[in-house]
Symmetry: D3
Subunit: 240 residues, 6 copies
């Protein structure tokens, strides 16, 4: 029995709200249950040096947590003077995941920065960030298309969303919350496209190593969850 009483293959309630920031070209407040992440997509007319004169754009991500997003207050990274290893890992993952569905040539020589700031954490902040970051990015691209700024149609090649699965009390379960995540034997994050392609898999045995069979079960759960997330993204974006 999961602490939240959810069935093993059930996600928390997901909400994706667009238009939550008056300045950003795209924005989305994503909630996976009690986990809340504010995602903004910022368009800038500059490009990393290695892309100068390539005709291609770039999408990057940054991730942060408000100090009291967590049960105990964490030290502010701006005050500590550097981003921790976990932060660096997560923001690199978000950036790679979003880039997987962007046609950089169609974007043109510009950069979109997706900021994912965790307002409140209850497990799954990185998967919520990817899922909500995609929506903010898509909003930003709509904003650009409305201004005829893109080189061609379909800068986005498809949806991308992410979910975590894990083995909790010997049972594979979908979308771990903090109560589960902190004691799960195995924790795996899956990033997939709307078409079912795999963009990134990260599976880690926290205690006992896991078997290929267990991993296959986790992947099946992830596919189910990501299917639901892609539906929610479509609804939030008002696409038909």
């Amino acid at each position: 029995m999961r602490p939240s009483k959810r069935p093993a293959d059930s996600m928390r309630e997901v909400s994706l709200t667009t238009g939550v920031n008056r300045h950003a070209e795209g924005s989305c407040l994503v909630k996976f249950g009690e986990t809340q992440v504010l995602c903004t997509a910022s368009l800038e007319e500059r490009i990393p040096p290695w892309l100068k004169n390539s005709g291609k754009g770039w999408v990057t991500a940054e991730y942060g947590m408000l100090p009291r997003a967590t049960g105990d207050r964490m030290r502010r990274e701006a005050s500590a003077g550097k981003q921790g290893g976990r932060t660096v890992e997560i923001q690199r993952l978000i950036g790679r995941s979003l880039r997987a569905v962007v046609d950089m040539g169609a974007l043109g020589e510009r950069q979109i920065t997706v900021d994912c700031d965790v307002i409140q954490a209850d497990g799954g902040t990185r998967t919520a960030s990817i899922t909500g970051g995609y929506v903010a990015l898509a909003e930003c691209l709509k904003w650009m298309e409305a201004r005829s700024m893109c080189q061609r149609k379909n800068v986005l090649k498809g949806h991308v969303a992410a979910v975590s699965c894990g083995i909790y009390k010997n049972e594979p379960v979908l979308d771990l919350d903090y109560a589960e995540d902190s004691v799960a034997e195995t924790d795996a994050n899956f990033v997939m496209t709307g078409a079912g392609g795999i963009v990134e898999i990260q599976g880690t045995a926290e205690g006992t190593p896991f078997s290929e069979e267990e991993f296959t079960k986790l992947m099946a759960l992830a596919k189910k969850g990501i299917g639901e997330l892609v539906e929610a993204q479509t609804a939030a974006l008002g696409d038909s």
Copy 2:
């Protein structure tokens, strides 16, 4: 005529919402018009070294802005590796302002950290932070009193709130928004207690120096505004 059509002595719509963070001992989302700051108060059973064995507690504040709180995306301070001069100035001001109304002996040897994170900026983020930070702090103290953790009653000696005033197109006006702030000749921040005592005054001539007479007018506006803010704090805290 102000860009917002407000009369010279009129504040923007103020809202103070408590209970917006499930982890923090006290929290408040404060809005001064389009300016939004999330304030959390975190209780920690530790104390700065210089207060060890003093019987006294401490209240401190930290301030941050989400990268896209502003019209143009600003570099994340955690990524830049340090807090900028403006951030340092503001968080020191918030801390001093809140400490002015706390009986440190009644608090006991503990620290409360008030984090003020700007979700969206439209001028007046520091004054909104002080005003909302007070509410988060008061909520935290209620939480402690409910657990009989304080040394004696009335850890808070009174309210504290803040507002900015300025000279915009030669006219003294109350509660500058960004459109006014960016062109005002003079900008002054006032921090006052509910009883009308002055905690901090910071007045700066951006262009032409100002006169004592002008300053007196700004202070009169500030008193009016702070009176309204204290009422809003009282309502938000459900005090009679």
Copy 3:
């Protein structure tokens, strides 16, 4: 009774000596009693990026204390790896104050950096820095005028000087020394022009909040002190 036996409205002995650095375009050793600050003004043929092609110049300030300027040795900021919050606050104040009297268009596209290094501290280092920094800046501008480097006459629009006032044992007093500053209930810094315009006011209640009436008395003291400082500046610069 003040520790120094001074009357309430009396400043410490002030001295402003120019020409104390063989390399700098302008320099001034300022003493407010035992407080000694070495101010140098350095002309550089460069400009902050945001002023490129504006036809305007820039004046900025940096502030530092020698490690043993104070009663106990303080850690060297260069060794600590960053400037503390107090340092950042003070050097921003000095810069704003000096810029208030400079005609940036007349200066042309160049930068003058005023370094204020505290050789010995006994209260009032920031106000001494502004007062002495003005003299160093004026010397630098004389040096430039002698070389016909300015765009037009009167790069300086007037004098600027600063003094602190405070409430010590319930009495408003002028020009706090360290013995007073460390126990004063209220501490206020005033920056004014020679013509009596207010450039910056910073008033802080260290303990009990103060009243508007008290603040008015502090400002009256400040006016008197700044009048004397402007006279001393005029004498030091050999102006008629």
Copy 4:
């Protein structure tokens, strides 16, 4: 056809040499073809703060590259003033991988730090680091056992090794070298125990997303490679 002419399921020549550092309690120079990593295991009688009085030890890893380990000289991280995101990611992975096979209670309250310094890079530095780091760690534990320092037998619960697989020109291949890695569509790192348990999986689509079927093929290659690496570890350690 692979650039190295290797069959798709063939690893590069692997060599594991122990005893390569006169100071370290355990050491191993690992080569995966032209990739060379010097691994040392350093025993220290200290423990992270959160393990004080737990009776348990800790194993951690650090990773670095000599500036000219790569085709173009990279900036020295000590000179840049911080470890890059890639470094942080890799050393966290090495540490988690090694901890998966250590009985921390048997180790007692001590820390072993495994340093993996890349002398020459040609792809697969993180998997070589884990594989060689295991050997250095095992040597360190032998050194401790020879001095009767462990709490009980079998501090190591088994072997751990790692290999990368990828999809190169549409074909799944084992143990990517740099020429392959830099153009592979998909790159996956597998960390497994000698008993075939999975410790960590990290799969990333560099371009086109990959399918579950492709991933299954990569895992089959990884199992083969890790079997060979575990044999090489056993030989290097002189175990029967």
Copy 5:
């Protein structure tokens, strides 16, 4: 002919003034011609960790330059966020030199920090710092002896002073000023005790390597100069 018209074996005018800082236990303003360094010795009742319970004290030094001590303004190291390589080299040299004449057991478990801050630079700042730093240190020890704080007499085992020599236009000369130093082929710093023992020698060929014979001539000049400096130290300290 030297730019200053000095004979080859002649030092610049040297002045050593004690009692120049009201807070420090010992202080000395040293001038070697136009080079001016303010030296303070600060006594602290703490000790580096590795000397705990050793019964021995420690002497360390820090070195800094005011930004406009030099012909062109240099970036403030506190603002740059770290001490440069040259600064680190020099302060290590000053510390080693002073420690060479201190009986650490007689000092007791305390630390004296000698700060050498260059007010104005014209070549020879490190040798002036050592020479003046010795005087500040000696003043500090007198202060301690007057309070019977030392474990035994003669904490100082002798004088230490330093001078630079160099080969300027093919001629060995004593006490290089900046005009000479910036073009000298060879530059050597000598640190010696009052008894003629060598504490430190640092000789560097800036252009053409130098010969042993040339080096011997530089050392002879150094002996002469240091003899004069030790006399000046004795006079400044009022010792007989």
Copy 6:
């Protein structure tokens, strides 16, 4: 009697192996007994800003130690966030030493960076670095000459090598190993050219100051040692 049983004027076994890195334009693994340093020379088509359009090149050096190069593990400087004072001192010395024998005009506007990374330390790492760094640099220049990249012949004006000498148990000895270095009364590093010119001398009294006579003996030992090192360099480079 020396711990290693060597005669006083005898160096440890020296080995210089070229071609040890497949990427670098020049490389050398240098061993002075148990001290091992990996030196690589990296050619880059860039130049420090102050040499732009000068027609001259630049040679610089960086130095590092692997964390377990030493008896006790040292903290990784990349992790500590800065290079220590000793590292900075040493790499500046290596750079100056190598530049002393390079004709910068013949090199053309390019930079060669010589990285000296200590794989294992047993005293004399800086002198081994200079001696081996010279060989790596010479290899790099051969590589350039084979591609007709130099402006003229003989970019190298001669050999440069270094050795340490010291006074160990009152006897001057050549090439200190760690057992000697850690207790020597005096430690001196000599950098000389193949023609016997002195490039750099650094002598330090660790305890008792030393005499000129002692120093002369150390220099005689150094000359003998450097003669042998230059022979070894010639052999390693295959020059006639």
